[in-house]
Amino acid sequence: MENFFIESSTYIPKIDFNCETNILSIEGESYHEYTVEFFQPVFEWLDKFLAEPSKEITMNFKMTYFNTSSSRRFLEVLNLLEEYQDESEGKVTVNWYYEEGDIDMLESGEEYEEDVNIDFNLIPYSN
């Protein structure tokens, strides 16, 4: 299968899912008004990617802003990864990056961490 890549633009994040390294990254701002449609190809790719068991996957989020609609899609991504870990002998690590001092982005990470049973790292970075 092929890697999945979308370049960031005004209201969409950069999405870089690599099936050779098994590193999946979402980065930037996400406030598309129709996230169901926008993320559909992302979920289609993930379905194929997760069809094969026993992978060691790193999921990176490095968001500066996302709307509530994207927030729901991110939880769906995390739920898929959790299911993969539980049922397909996968090993998943989530790295949630937030800019130092961005208390809201840190809190968003903590709220996802509470909602899924995956190794979760909250990692500050300075700009």
Partner: protein, 186 residues
């Protein structure tokens, strides 16, 4: 000066000045519009967290108008009907105030009122719990939104949200939403 119609730009401008309105937009709330508001907000020198919270409120209100305004116009670029409304950012000594307005259908009036009554009196923990519960629920069919916007506005604002629903005729009401954010957060 003689006006061509009854709209007075002078009065409009005075009103904006008197209320320290830094941004006002009336029209259809496309992605592009929201992107421009984002750029405009970056130009102030507020703390980043404050700017982002103001932008969060703008996005959730704007996307609420985009999806649910009873008045829509067709956009050729996006090949969709896009909701029309009005949004303004003003300020007082201690607060930024973000206000939006749009027409809603009569059938939605009751539900909107009930939802604000529910969240206005909640504390931070209760809001967080409700947000997370709601986020786990399946996407509502035929509704593009996440059903989280009002809760997010309430959380990011940190204050009670004011709303007003003005009854009009023809099955439409005008819905005004007003949230404030303390300037002193950082």
């Amino acid at each position: 000066m003689e006006y061509y119609d009854s709209f007075s730009l002078r009065r409009f401008h005075e009103d904006l000045e008197r209320n320290a309105v830094s941004l006002a937009f009336h029209g259809s709330f496309s992605q592009d519009t929201i992107g421009l508001i984002n750029i405009s907000l970056q130009q102030n020198d507020n703390a980043k967290t404050l700017t982002k919270r103001i932008f969060s409120l703008v996005v959730e209100m704007a996307q609420n108008i985009h999806h649910y305004s009873a008045k829509k116009i067709y956009s050729e670029k996006f090949d969709r009907e896009i909701g029309v409304g009005v949004l303004a950012i003003s300020e007082t000594e201690g607060y930024y105030i973000i206000t939006s307005g749009n027409f809603i259908e009569q059938k939605d009036v009751l539900e909107i009122g009930e939802r604000f009554e529910e969240i206005n009196d909640m504390n931070d923990d209760e809001l967080k719990t409700l947000y997370k519960e709601r986020r786990k629920m399946p996407q509502r069919p035929d509704k593009p939104g996440a059903n989280l916007g009002f809760i997010d506005i309430r959380r990011k604002s940190g204050n009670r949200i004011n709303y007003e629903i003005i009854e009009k005729n023809n099955n439409n009401s005008f819905f005004i939403l007003s949230a404030k954010i303390n300037k002193s957060i950082n």
